[in-house]
Amino acid sequence: MNSTTIIPLFVIIPLAAAFLISLVGRFIRRSSEIIIFIASFTLLGFSIYARFLLNSAAGKIMVYKIGGWVPPFGICMVMDGLSSFMLVTVNLIAFFVAVYSLAYMEQYTDKPKFFTLFSLMVCGMNGVIITGDLFNLFVFLEIASIASYALVAFGTEAEELEASFKYAIMGSVASAFIFIGIAFLYSFTSTLNMADMARVLNYKENIWIIPFVGVLFLMGFGLKSALVPFHAWLPDAHPSAPASISAMLSGVLIKTLGVYSLVRILFNIIGSNHGYLTILMFLGVTSMLVAVVLALSQWDLKRLLAYHSISQIGYVVLGIGLGTPLGVFGGLFHLFNHSVFKSLLFLNSGAIDYASGTRDLKETGGLGKLMPVTAKTNLIASMSIAGIPPFNGFFSKAIIIIACLQKGNFGYAVCAVIGSILTLASFMKVQKFVFLGEIKDKLKNIKEVPFVMLFSMVCLALICIFGGLMLLPSFRFFLDDAVAVILKGTSYAGVVLEAASRP
């Protein structure tokens, strides 16, 4: 039992928790809450431990062979810089959202079913991140997607069902395109292991299949990550979910199923070329501007936040599409920051909904005096997303804009700055209408939300404040390893296969 046996635990623990909750949640009171708290806390601990374990591994990579079968005959699980970075992001947000849901889900019936689906979604996302096999990625992607379709419809109101139906059909069409892409790649290279496929693609001459597969993956994963031509499901699906699920969907799901998978397949398997990266940058900038303009006219708080999710993912894709070390660093840093502050914003909207029963901006007002903690954390998150120093959003946006200027794309940098200004305008509107001003009559008696919800919000706000410290040299290994994996490109395959041949 060497140190690599920690890797499959990221899939085993949420899976066991899901079925255990589904079995005993109905008989023993409060058992579902205890099990999910233990499971998510353990996952967070393991992900941070695995990040430090990776520093001492040879070649900064750990490979776990399932069943002892050596790849390419068997499925392997790979933990490298990018995987451990994404694992820490996902499990951090999952822990805080699980703690928040302990109190928030009191208004819905049937908590065991909620926690089962939540745990299955976390299992699917962890599986997508650590797997080293392409079809295994598709299976875990489907597990996470189906759990999220069911979670969006959890409240079973009329509008939630409509949003979930739209999301399910569009998500299934995207999965169909991804499946056909995997089928084409399998027929061309006759292997499914990611490292082996990269090795084979290196010496086979590229015919029309590779750009074709690239477009198919862009359509499929672009829909999962809500880039602009494919974004139409997100403004309906994210507001309709319960607030903790909105935080999970907006915070981590669109990033692991969309951006991470696209990056992994594009940079490490197919090999990035200039045209594809230009398309990614163009789609990123379009997402940024279109979504933030559409967000200015929204009066529903969660719908406004959903449009801002699309816009910030545009920043991430712009950063990664630049392809330079600074650009990719900025993109990945913004991915982590956006998970933190967007989850915090959605949890705040859930707290407002829990206390006052409404999401409409025109009906709230002056809640700042009655809910002080919520108001302060919302202010911190709004300043983060708008990019005001010294919060973490400022650093990542600045790095992306500087990287654009370094590469010479002045137009994209100007668009990024405009997007940032409009984001600030939008959140000043939220602050004014929700927290400042006069209290309406029917909202005079609301109180602050319970302690567990405040705990999650305050912790996420603290990460927002101190997030900029990740640029310090002693903490930069967290991001530098991830950037190194992306920039290594297809020569990454040799590292994985060499690590897999060790016992």
């Binding site: 409509e162 069409v173 169909a176």
Partner: protein, 112 residues
């Protein structure tokens, strides 16, 4: 080669159903046809010339078989399709209870 082309035509028929039909149940049927076309395409990729079914039996020693890996993967994919279909059908039934119609042009409360 014509077989792959026919799979593509079946996929496009399913995609037409998802895009242009107005009844919720017809959209779900179109999605089902798309999944059939995908699975069929993946299984057909494993065909080898003069191959036979990849079942190992005690008294036969013919060695050229078709590729068994796509068949195992398609089994998984069929079950995934089953799960999605079951979920989407139950959502459609609940939509009928709440809205009173299956017509998607009338189920339009979320906009903007």
């Amino acid at each position: 080669m014509t077989l792959y082309f026919l799979c593509l035509i079946l996929f496009c028929v399913g995609l037409y159903g998802v895009l242009r039909k107005r009844n919720l149940v017809k959209i779900i049927i179109g999605l089902g046809i798309m999944e059939y076309a995908m699975n069929l395409f993946f299984v057909l990729l494993g065909y080898r010339f003069h191959g036979r079914a990849p079942i190992d039996a005690k008294d036969q020693n013919i060695l050229n078989m078709v590729d068994p890996l796509p068949q195992a993967l398609v089994l998984t994919s069929i079950v995934i399709g089953l799960g999605v279909t079951a979920l989407v059908i139950s959502i459609a039934l609940r939509i009928y209870e709440k809205y009173g119609t299956f017509d998607i042009t009338k189920i339009k409360r979320l906009k903007g």
